[in-house]
Structures are given as structure tokens and as C-alpha cells.
């Protein structure tokens, strides 16, 4: 069953130096209980697309178009009150930097309880109890004491657990996690990923995981969307993408990340380089946005934007040579 249906979503920021097309014609679906990873480098539009879905951008400075349906209900045309009823209730959000994402002058217990009280009628005391229960479930020791502490008194890992408790307190059907472990150390990251997996089982929430870390994707995701310069360039099941990447950018990404243990196989030569950097989103491109960095780019790539082509039932690619590559 489709939980979230995004069709032709575009987000355009109006800046003093011209329009900035941060998200460009993005379509994807998330089914109930599924984990979809959106992968890309900085500037690829992955975070902006999540913020656009939840209408969290300052809409006096950007334009949204397309369609975003949550359980059949259009969010882009919903009014602010309707969106408020959805945020934190049907959709929970986790952000990258838990230090700045928590209010520094409010105790964590109250911040969690607030999320519950905004959507359910309950007394202050009931909400506080529920917050403590959530703190227990996200594995914070001594939750009663911790609930009365301020964010700066907690470690980075604990702060992220607080964020998770806050996002899940209303049992949302969809959880959007924007780089949830990027700011954390690897051993703490492992703890948080473990926690997210076990909570996914308990709560049955679907997850949109936004990250640049392909390792995290491989551990968490059922399906993967690769974004480049605001566009989806490839989508498929996690196994497909990692086993048979089709788009040259995806291949480059996979090659650019060193594999742990590669020295044992005696192949620690050069890493695969993707030349250059992400293009300036203000400069309108005619052809494929990746063409200037692509080794296999031909004339057609500079002239026309490739559309998404389904190469298998569970795999789509936006590359002029996608089908040929399958043969090759």
C-alpha cells in the first residue's frame, strides 16, 4: 500500500542571483513500513526535497510545484493548520545535528512531551509520563532524571535518542530522518542505527532516510534513490543498486568510497575519482547535469536531458546509455 506518493515535485528558490532549482521533477513512492534512502552529495537537493514534502521551507522565498500525497491526501494544497496536524503526528522528523535541533533552554522531557500534547488531548502530567516512557524505549538510562535535564547536559548520542523519541511519540506512519548519524562517532552511529532498526520493527513506521553515506544505506534501506543536481538519476532496490549500478554517477560514488578491508585483498590502489564538483544549480543546463563530469558523455548528453528508463522491474535510470550499458 502506498503511503507517500510524490509526483513531479520541484522546488525553486528565488535568490538575488536568479532562480535556484533545488529539486527538479522528483517522483517517488514510499510504501507502508518500507525504508527508502535518498542519497546524494551536498547540493544534490536531498534535504530540500524532504523539507518540501513536509512544507517546512519558507514559502515566501521558494516555489513548490507537483504533487505530494500522504495516504491519498494532497499536502502541497493543504493549509497550514492541516499541515500542523500532520507534522509530528503522522510524519515524524529527525535532523542531523541534535545539538542545534533541540531547544537549549527547555528540558528534554518537556520537548518530548510537547510533541505528544500538540496532537493528543492529555494533561501535562500524562504527557510527561509518556515522554519518560519514550525515553526508556530509546534506551536512555535513568530516564526520569534525564527528562529534567537540558540538551547541553546530554552527549551527542543521547541527544539523537531524544530526537528519535520526540519523532516517534505519536507513532507516525512515516519517519523522515535527515542525516541522522552524520554528526556522530562511528561507535555511537552503530548504536543509533541499531536503535532505529529495532524501533522500525516495533512501530512499523516507513522511513525516508536521507544520507550521503552509502554504508548506512546498505545497512538500512530497502530501496535507494540517487539524486544529482536536484534530479533523481537512479532508483532501485538496495540490492540492485549496489550489485548493478547503472548510472555513471552511482558507479562513481560506489567507487569513490573506500571499502573497509580492501587492503587485505591487496587492492588499495587509487580510489575512483569523479572529476569536478556538483554544478552550480543556478546555471540552467540543457543536457544531462552530470555530463561535464562523465567519462562516457557523448554529444547527446550535452544536448538533451535523459528521461528515466526502467531497466528492470525494480530499477530506473536517467542516462542516455542506460540500456546499452545493460548489454555491455
Amino acid at each position: 500500500m502506498v503511503l507517500l506518493n510524490v509526483e513531479h515535485l520541484s522546488t525553486i528558490f528565488q535568490t538575488s542571483r536568479g532562480d535556484l532549482r533545488a529539486v527538479n521533477d522528483l517522483s517517488f513512492r514510499v510504501s507502508k513500513g518500507e525504508t527508502v534512502a535518498i542519497v546524494g552529495e551536498s547540493g544534490s537537493g536531498k534535504s530540500v526535497s524532504a523539507m518540501s514534502i513536509m512544507r517546512l521551507l519558507d514559502e515566501s522565498r521558494c516555489r513548490l510545484s507537483g504533487k505530494v500525497e500522504l495516504k491519498g491526501r494532497d499536502l502541497l494544497s493543504a493549509d497550514e493548520a492541516a499541515m500542523r496536524a500532520i507534522r509530528g503526528n503522522q510524519v515524524g522528523l529527525i535532523f542531523q545535528e541534535p545539538m542545534t535541533a533541540l531547544n537549549p533552554v527547555v528540558t528534554v522531557g518537556r520537548q518530548i512531551a510537547e510533541a505528544a500534547r500538540l496532537h493528543e488531548t492529555m494533561t501535562r502530567r500524562q504527557a510527561a509520563e509518556k515522554a519518560i516512557e519514550m525515553l526508556t524505549r530509546v534506551g536512555i538510562p535513568d530516564p526520569r532524571r534525564r527528562a529534567n535535564e537540558y540538551p547541553h547536559q546530554l552527549s551527542g548520542g543521547m541527544r539523537q535518542r531524544v530526537m528519535i523519541a520526540m519523532a516517534l511519540i505519536c507513532r507516525p506512519e512515516l519517519l523522515i530522518a535527515d542525516e541522522p548519524t552524520t554528526a556522530l562517532d562511528v561507535t555511537v552511529q552503530a548504536q543509533i542505527l541499531d536503535l532505529m532498526r529495532s524501533l522500525r520493527e516495533q512501530f512499523g513506521s516507513a522511513i525516508i532516510l536521507i544520507t550521503h553515506d552509502l554504508g548506512v544505506v546498505a545497512e538500512m534501506a530497502d530501496r535507494v534513490i540517487i539524486m544529482y543536481a536536484g534530479r533523481k538519476v537512479e532508483e532501485g532496490t538496495a540490492e540492485e543498486i549496489f550489485a548493478r549500478p547503472r548510472h555513471p554517477y552511482t558507479k562513481g560514488l560506489l567507487g569513490a568510497v573506500p571499502r573497509l578491508g580492501s587492503s587485505l585483498e591487496g587492492k588499495t590502489g587509487r580510489l575512483v575519482e569523479i572529476e569536478g564538483t556538483v554544478p552550480d544549480p543556478r546555471v540552467a543546463t540543457v543536457g544531462c547535469a552530470f555530463a561535464p563530469r562523465c567519462r562516457g558523455a557523448a554529444d547527446i548528453c550535452r544536448l538533451s536531458q535523459p528521461g528515466l528508463v526502467r531497466t528492470r522491474s525494480d530499477h530506473q535510470v536517467a542516462c542516455h546509455f542506460a540500456t546499452e550499458l545493460v548489454v555491455a
Binding site: M54, G88, T100, L102, P104, M163, A167
Partner: protein, 313 residues
């Protein structure tokens, strides 16, 4: 908390010491004989000599300062050269009106500034915000005695709603006291209001751009909740700071305001002391005003603890 308070109190000691040294030292760094300065150019040599002995100027600097500091610590601010009354007593007689004025001015400043500052920040870039910015910068640029004269022209001379000037002590006629204080407090408060309003707007904008505001939105909080439950407490820290720092200019404004409205407070006393070259009184006043400023900022530091849990002890 107690330790923090103690720590802050201890930290005011060097500041006050600097003020004391400064106030005392002023007489000596200025060119010419301090006794002549106090006695005035026309004074006879005998008069000058009398002042020199009375003030102890015939003794070395450090002895004088030692004696002066010793008396100061026991609460003795010296004796007026002009009226021969103890300076402490002169100040005590005049402190009431000035306190009323400062307190009233502060209240008016806060009432005029904080709500508008918040509203402007919440509606950034819209018409209200632009008008707000223009009005604050204009108001900020008008010297407060001109504001005073404008207010008097409108409300006292024009509409005749309020008295032009004068001061009625509250124990004689409380109604008249309140009525008489409205224009002076407004005069004093308006300039300060611009400063606080600008800081309120800026710090609200700063807080509203932070990540945790997005978190609150993501939880489903509405605009008022975001403004008042999440942003205001964070934004109040710079607001409180500017109230503390600006208190010095409020005191300066009070001196001028008293002189416009003929209020017999410390400001008037200051001007009288200047015209009489009554240096002990000037010394005492500068010390008292500075102590007031330091105390207000001490209070500000203690308020921080209530507002920001990151400050510990």
C-alpha cells in the same frame, strides 16, 4: 546559584575600584591647581588656600586617596563645598524622583519595544516590519530633549492634557505625581525603547533562523507557540543584556529629562553642582550613578541564570 551570585558580586569590586580611582584621580590629572579649579578663577588666594586645606590637597596624592577611600568605605561621601551639607544626605534627599523616573522610563521602554519587536520579527520584510525599522532608526536619532519638547508641545501646550513641568511628591498628591511623571517617563523611555526594539527584532530573527525552530515546526507547533514558547526565552538573553548595558544611557537621559521638566532629582543636583563647581558632590554623584549601573548589570547577570540553563552554578 548562590556561588554564582557571590562570584558576580566579587567581580563588581574591581570595576567599582576603577571608578573610584578614576573619579578621585580626575581632579589631579586635570591641568592646574585643583583647589583653584574648585574655588573658581575669581577666588582670592585665601579662599583657595582654605579649600586646599579643607580638601587635603596639601598632602601627597596617595595619602589623600587613602583618606578619601577610607571615608568612602564607611559611607562618607564628603561634604559639599557649596552648601556644607554631607554629600550622602544631599543625594538621599534627591534620589526619589530620579528612581521614579528611571523605573517609569524603563517600564515604558519595555512596553513600547518588546511587543513591537517580536511582531516585526514575526513579519519580517512586510510593511509593518519596514515601518518599524524606519520609525526605530528615526526615533533613535532624535536627542531625547527634543522628544521631550515635542511631547510637551503636543500633550501639555497643545492638548492641555498633562502638566508642562514640575514635580509633585507622591506622598502629597499621588494622582498629580502620576500625571506629572507621564511625560518625563515617556521622554526618557522612548529613545531607550528604540534600542531595545531593534535588539528584540534582531535577536528574535536570529533565534527564528535556528534549527530547533524547525524541529518545533516539525512537531506541529503553531506560530504563536513557536514565537512565545520556543523563541522568546532564547531571544530574551540579548534583550536583557541590552537593558543592562543601555541603563547607563538611561541614567544620562534622566539628567537631561529632569532638567527639561524641572524635576528635583539627582540630575538637577548634578547640574547645580556643576554650576557651583561643587566637586565633592560631583564625585559622589558619579560614584552613586556608577554603582547603580553596576548593580543593574549584576541583576542582569543573575537573570541570565534563570533564562539560560547553560550558565551553571
Amino acid at each position: 546559584m548562590l556561588r554564582y551570585a557571590l562570584q558576580r558580586i566579587v567581580m563588581t569590586i574591581p570595576v567599582m575600584a576603577v571608578v573610584a580611582v578614576f573619579v578621585f584621580g580626575l581632579l589631579f590629572v586635570t591641568p592646574g591647581d585643583p583647589a583653584v579649579v574648585i574655588a573658581g578663577e575669581q577666588a582670592s588666594p585665601e579662599e583657595v588656600q582654605a579649600i586646599r586645606v579643607a580638601m587635603g590637597f596639601d598632602q601627597p596624592f596617595y595619602v589623600q586617596f587613602g583618606l578619601w577611600a577610607q571615608r568612602l568605605l564607611s559611607g562618607d561621601l564628603g561634604t559639599s563645598v557649596f552648601s556644607r551639607e554631607p554629600v550622602a544626605e544631599l543625594i538621599a534627599q534627591r534620589v526619589g524622583p530620579t528612581l521614579s523616573l528611571l523605573f517609569g522610563g524603563l517600564i515604558i521602554a519595555l512596553l513600547l519595544s518588546v511587543p513591537f519587536g517580536i511582531y516585526a520579527a514575526a513579519n519580517r520584510g512586510k510593511l509593518f516590519d519596514r515601518a518599524f525599522t524606519a520609525v526605530t532608526v528615526l526615533n533613535f536619532s532624535i536627542p531625547n530633549f527634543i522628544v521631550g519638547y515635542l511631547l510637551v508641545s503636543i500633550f501639555a501646550l497643545g492638548l492641555r492634557w498633562l502638566p508642562v513641568q514640575g514635580y509633585v511628591p507622591p506622598d502629597r498628591d499621588f494622582g498629580a505625581y502620576l500625571l506629572g511623571m507621564i511625560l518625563p517617563c515617556l521622554t526618557l523611555g522612548m529613545g531607550f525603547a528604540s534600542l531595545i526594539a531593534r535588539v528584540t527584532r534582531a535577536s528574535m530573527l536570529d533565534v527564528l533562523s535556528q534549527d530547533f525552530i524547525r524541529t518545533a515546526k516539525a512537531k506541529g507547533a503553531d506560530r504563536n507557540r513557536i514565537l512565545f514558547a520556543h523563541a522568546l526565552k532564547n531571544a530574551s538573553i540579548p534583550i536583557v543584556t541590552i537593558v543592562g548595558l543601555g541603563f547607563a544611557s538611561l541614567i544620562g537621559g534622566a539628567v537631561i529629562t529632569e532638567s527639561i521638566f524641572a524635576i528635583p532629582g539627582l540630575g538637577r543636583l548634578t547640574l547645580e553642582a556643576i554650576s557651583h563647581r561643587d566637586y565633592p558632590v560631583i564625585q559622589g554623584l558619579v560614584l552613586v550613578f556608577s554603582a547603580g549601573y553596576v548593580l543593574v548589570n549584576l541583576a542582569v547577570d543573575l537573570i541570565y541564570v534563570l533564562l539560560d540553563p547553560r550558565i551553571r552554578y
